[in-house]
């Protein structure tokens, strides 16, 4: 437990560091303690978490069949190269 409780301004200032897991355990615990008792900051944190999750989800897209074929061919070519050198 650190000394002074954080103010709302301090929590909002460090919110993205907290969500990005850039804080040490003590700093993260201080933020969480504040979020437990402050509805406004909790609501803001939940909003940013939710948006962050949506951004993260954009990093998944169905890999085209063409790409899968290309990768198989790449590995096949590797194996053929190996056979030729044996």
């Amino acid at each position: 437990m650190s000394g002074q409780p954080l103010t709302c301004e301090e929590v909002i200032e460090r919110l993205f560091d907290y969500l990005d897991r850039e804080l040490d355990d003590q700093q993260a615990a201080d933020i969480e303690r504040h979020l437990h008792r402050c509805r406004d900051c909790f609501t803001r944190a939940e909003f940013e978490k939710r948006l962050r999750a949506r951004v993260e989800a954009t990093g998944t897209a169905a890999a085209p069949t063409r790409l899968r074929r290309r990768i198989r061919a790449l590995i096949d070519r590797f194996d053929d190269g190996h056979d030729a050198t044996c």
């Binding site: 850039e22 951004v55 169905a62 990768i71 590995i75 590797f78 194996d79 050198t85």
Partner: protein, 240 residues
């Protein structure tokens, strides 16, 4: 166009994870077909994330395919360098990220073909401190009746993709590396060769710009209901 790396089997010793005595590896897995199966079984569940991440980084389906193929080719060629099989996923994504950054730098070094010819220097952009939450939040409304909820209900993945893709390269990379791939600020600093303070600054600006674009998209698409949007009009216009 990114070319797949040349493959030379003679340079590819057995991966450490498949060598004799490696924990948890059956002796039969030392056969060539098992080596390939081991690789493909771990690659397959990651394909959509590899491609999706590449797509967010490059914004172009062909370029995304190129860097995924390059990364997978390199991973296959360097499988012996992977000491801990549990780290296969992170290792592969790291190769993908490096493949993108190398290609991006090559493109940046060609002044006749910059990726964002009209974009201002991202570190000079004046984004201010725009936050979507401040535009949407009404303290006395319950969550399920709030503009925040209305916004999320109507936020389409294509809208979000379009907004991310519209970010300047440096901003988009910062967002994708941290929020999509989960790199630490320190790792992003090393990957991009920029100071830690610049990583923080770009992330902050990238988030501000992304949220501003999402707010504008939501208003233009009418997904924020009329009277509420009107109530927020003044507040929105005050922001940069």
């Amino acid at each position: 166009m990114i070319l797949a790396p040349p493959i030379n089997r003679a340079l590819l010793p057995w991966p450490a994870i498949l060598q004799r005595g490696a924990p948890g590896v059956a002796m039969t897995e030392r056969q060539p077909s098992d080596r390939r199966r081991w690789f493909e079984e771990r690659l397959e569940p990651l394909m959509d994330r590899l491609y999706g991440t590449a797509l967010r980084l490059t914004r172009d389906p062909d370029d995304a395919e190129d860097i995924v193929a390059e990364a997978v080719g390199k991973a296959w060629a360097r499988l012996d360098e992977l000491r801990d099989p549990q780290r296969f996923e992170g290792w592969l994504f790291h190769i993908l990220t490096n493949a993108f950054i190398s290609d991006w730098r090559r493109r940046q070094s060609r002044p006749q073909r910059p990726m964002d010819p009209e974009a201002p220097s991202p570190d000079e952009l004046d984004i201010g401190s725009f936050t979507l939450f401040q535009q949407l939040h009404q303290p006395f409304l319950l969550w399920w009746g709030s503009l925040e909820e209305q916004f999320f209900q109507n936020l389409l993945e294509e809208d979000l993709q379009r907004a991310i893709d519209a970010l300047p390269d440096a901003f988009r990379m910062a967002i994708v590396l941290v929020e999509v791939q989960g790199y630490t600020y320190e790792e992003v600093s090393r990957l991009l060769g920029i100071p830690l303070g610049t990583v923080r600054s770009r992330l902050s600006r990238a988030r501000g710009l992304l949220q501003k674009m999402l707010w504008q998209q939501a208003r233009e698409a009418g997904v924020i209901s009329g009277h509420r949007a009107a109530a927020h009009q003044g507040k929105g216009d005050e922001q940069p």
